[in-house]
Point group: D2
């Protein structure tokens, strides 16, 4: 079977996981890595026996590289994505797709013009627990969905660079809520603040409302010294709870509580495998550029809401 | 020790618990009961060996009755409260204090003019778990408070009469959030709807924001076939969880999870005992008329928010 | 419907619960109570508006009394049981049926000769959770049963009188294991001791073995400052766990964990109702004198085992 | 720092974990591997860039190898251990130390004569949760210890070779109980059987008694389709529970339940690191040959107990 030639741009904390997974997958062949830190690029390259670069322009000249995953800091996503697309590479961009909505739109347009696949790294979509939650909802196992409540709190992550907790953490749950509700919100109301850290907000609370009456609460922070990543979906016939970390779901219904047992699976592996298969089969990936763009629009509206102390309507802003 | 002479007006599902507790307390002497259903009034009165009435005007003539608790349907709270205050009785009114804010204001004014004690039945204030949550927050055990999330869901309660889930259920958590945050919210954003029942909303999601950055999410419904009453408070140093039903609290911190062990105590007993002691000692009760009024104002603003799809500012509306 | 006329002998801590339940049941009419403490007998009798005695011989003369429940200290069970049976009364005896096996045999013989119903107060048989465990086993829901592990620990119970933790506490689980295994053990090996209290053993560990390979571990003590009453049954296809206190069962299988939801029911009410119905319908009660005798034999063998540091064979000792 | 030169004999399911860990540790240098399956030996050796052998006699000639870990099937432990010791190598032997007590004694004697270090692979000793349980007991945090209950159940492990569930699984808990009780048992009573598998027992229940009144229950099987590895220690002041898998401990006391939070650590890494450090520093390892021997003696006595349906005294059998 033909393997997809891939490269990773940005091999810091998270990028090196991409490198490891691409090297393990049978669907991909890792060709090279790139990092502005030459020592880092070199070390990783040697460990995995691939080529290394400090300048992505050079890397992208490599013809065997068909797809690139971008794991650099958010502020450089737009530049790196543009470069890669112009060189004809398919693209996997870590979330958030870009620093700003306008940058994100440019990436989408370019991908469209160049006819390249564009996937965005909302890894929780590939959390097997999320798929089970989605399936349970779609199969009407908890009746009509009334609300979703997502909690994503932890202490300050050393790795974080150039975005706050909204675009780094809450954005995951914004995407997941859109996904499991199969709908876009019509408005967002949010409060966010900076309790301990100077530059970016370190806590955020958001409420998303939907046309048909559904609501989502999203809480995210980098304060709480105990890591929780949880999703609770309330329906007219039951309650679904997911622990994103253990991937365990719990279904509370009138007659019983049921906790299915499953092996833990690595979401990143499932995510990059899916990306490779999408490109190889020329199919649209599960998480599209539109998904990346809409989640970012909602996050920017949340920031605006917090500044204005108003709910921000979303219908005119979001892409269909 | 002098006992407080008390009577209960409305001895349906909930009023009969007042009767039982007043008859058990050493601080009170139950004198009489009143109910529009004469059979019900008579049966209860015989069981507890007290006088019975179908007309509260008659009951209130009884001079040994110093305080009255009103457990009738919400729409009659204003009439019954007015009657009792004019007869010089101290007053305990079940929540919500009245059907409308204007009625509530009239009750407060009258209580003030008549110089009578007025307490409102926010029973969760007397849940020992709430006191422990409040103490833990005030003692800075979870650092700076960031948010509170309250969940109060259950199947349709047969008993419910003449208000929806906002004023019947969510109002408890509105009050508890005000209490544990020691502050009034500055705005409310809400979504509510009617999924299964015709007349009143049967689900509601509310987000309350506070001046200093704190936020509360409140979810209440009469849909979910599994009863949950839970409060989670996120702080910069830890997370507090309370199960209102078992009264158990859990404190998650960086180093450990701690679950103190306490005997379950009946909140209603603690509540009515506190009321009796407040009247006997001529001290202001823990839950004042102002508390009852402000919670109702917030609930009405939540309804308005849902209708307008806007966040409703509260500062001008609430009493200090 | 004809009601069964009943009386309670011994109205201390536990006997007063019998009084309350007999007064609540529609199947029984409480006629009188008896206690050597005249103040106690009088107070209870007045509360429930029945006759009171300090001498059971006098009580038993009352012809309307058809059945008697004996809640006195264990050392007087034999005397009280003999008296009641000789007066032609049906008998409910609290566990343990008697202080010694020989006394127990005499009670059984007398009940047989007098043709009276004899039930023994193994209240856990009427714990709805036990019935669910028994049903699940009998319906082969956890495959072949391999073992049962029972834990019954708590701090020193003030009420306890004249037997140690083996005959007071562990005896419940001895009976439950016989019941859910539908078999008698062939041997017992036990260790017991006195860690904090002078007169009676306050901790006991027992292992029961069965012909077909099943085993039971029973742990009981009056030391642990945290009350646990739990039963775990391991089978070839799953594990059943019961919390006797909450009555909740949990079924762990390969594919899932399932926790059925049920309303809590008062075991004493179910137990005395069953007793009354058995007598009224002239049917053998669920817990017979043989059950009371065999559990006591096993407990005495456990004491013997601990003294000799040997496993004690049971087949020759137990009644079929 | 000087590294310890090591080799692994037997690189099947478990041995390859030794290989990986030895290659990761800074204290050891992996020199070679040996397996009767040449393909397996070669593959592993290539992955880790070390030498490979199919005959341990050849491997042992390698002078840089100072210590050998033996991960072959149990029946060959004696032969391999003898070979290695005679070549002057320090020895780490996976549990059980040997198939029979007499073989185990020969290994101990030889190690003594050759003055070589001998450690036995009771990996649970290096489970950080066990250390916390041991510390809590030693610091008197649960008062006087009354009993320990260990549960180790799972479905049939494909890997298992040539011993039954007693010597493969229960032996871990036999060792842990000896360790946390700081004492040897005086007797064992056991029941074991074969429910699903032909050759070896697939379930075992054991009760160990101790001079001072302590008791342990050990349950092990290869039947239950849900993996549980748990230890509960009951004391006069509290209860300690350990989940061996998550390494989480829980301490239930009168006033509270406390669950300390710790990062998961790989027991095998801690175990082999400790072994290397012991050899390098010429100190006795935590788990000695005596520990390996005594656990095996107790397991053989358990088998004897089940055959005879008698408790087997241990004091004369065990090494001090």
């Amino acid at each position: 079977m033909k393997k997809l030639g891939v490269a990773v741009v940005g091999v810091g904390f998270w990028g090196r996981n991409h490198v490891r997974v691409f090297s393990e997958l049978s669907e991909t062949e890792l060709i090279g890595v790139c990092d502005v830190d030459s020592e880092r690029a070199k070390n990783i390259a040697q460990e995995y026996d691939v080529e290394w670069y400090t300048d992505s322009t050079e890397l992208l000249k490599h013809e065997e590289i068909e797809a690139v995953s971008i794991c650099t800091w958010t502020t450089t996503h737009a530049t790196e994505a543009t470069r890669a697309l112009k060189q004809g590479k398919h693209l996997f961009v870590e979330k958030p797709i870009a620093s700003t909505v306008s940058q994100a739109r440019e990436i989408l347009d370019l991908a469209h013009r160049e006819d390249r696949h564009l996937a965005v790294g909302f890894i929780e979509r590939f959390n097997p627990g999320v798929r089970r939650v989605k399936d349970a909802i779609d199969q009407n196992r908890i009746g009509s969905v009334v609300s979703g409540t997502a909690t994503r709190v932890s202490k300050w992550p050393e790795r974080v660079g150039d975005v706050g907790v909204v675009k780094d953490a809450a954005i995951h749950d914004v995407d997941i809520i859109r996904y499991i509700f199969s709908d876009n919100p019509i408005a967002v109301y949010a409060k966010l603040g900076t309790l301990r850290h100077k530059r970016y907000e370190d806590y955020a609370q958001m409420m998303l409302t939907f046309q048909d009456g559904k609501t989502a609460f999203i809480e995210a922070n980098w304060l709480t010294p105990y890591k929780i990543r949880r999703l609770v979906v309330t329906g007219s016939q039951g309650i679904l709870s997911l622990d994103y970390i253990t991937q365990e779901i719990k279904i509370d219904k009138a007659q019983q509580t049921r906790i299915p047992r499953h092996e833990w699976e690595e979401p990143l592996k499932l995510e990059l495998q899916h990306f490779a298969n999408s490109v190889l089969a020329n199919k649209e990936p599960l998480v599209t550029g539109i998904d990346g763009l809409n989640a970012l629009i909602i996050c920017e509206a949340a920031v605006e809401s917090a500044q204005k102390c108003e709910a921000i309507p979303l219908e005119q802003k979001l892409e269909k």
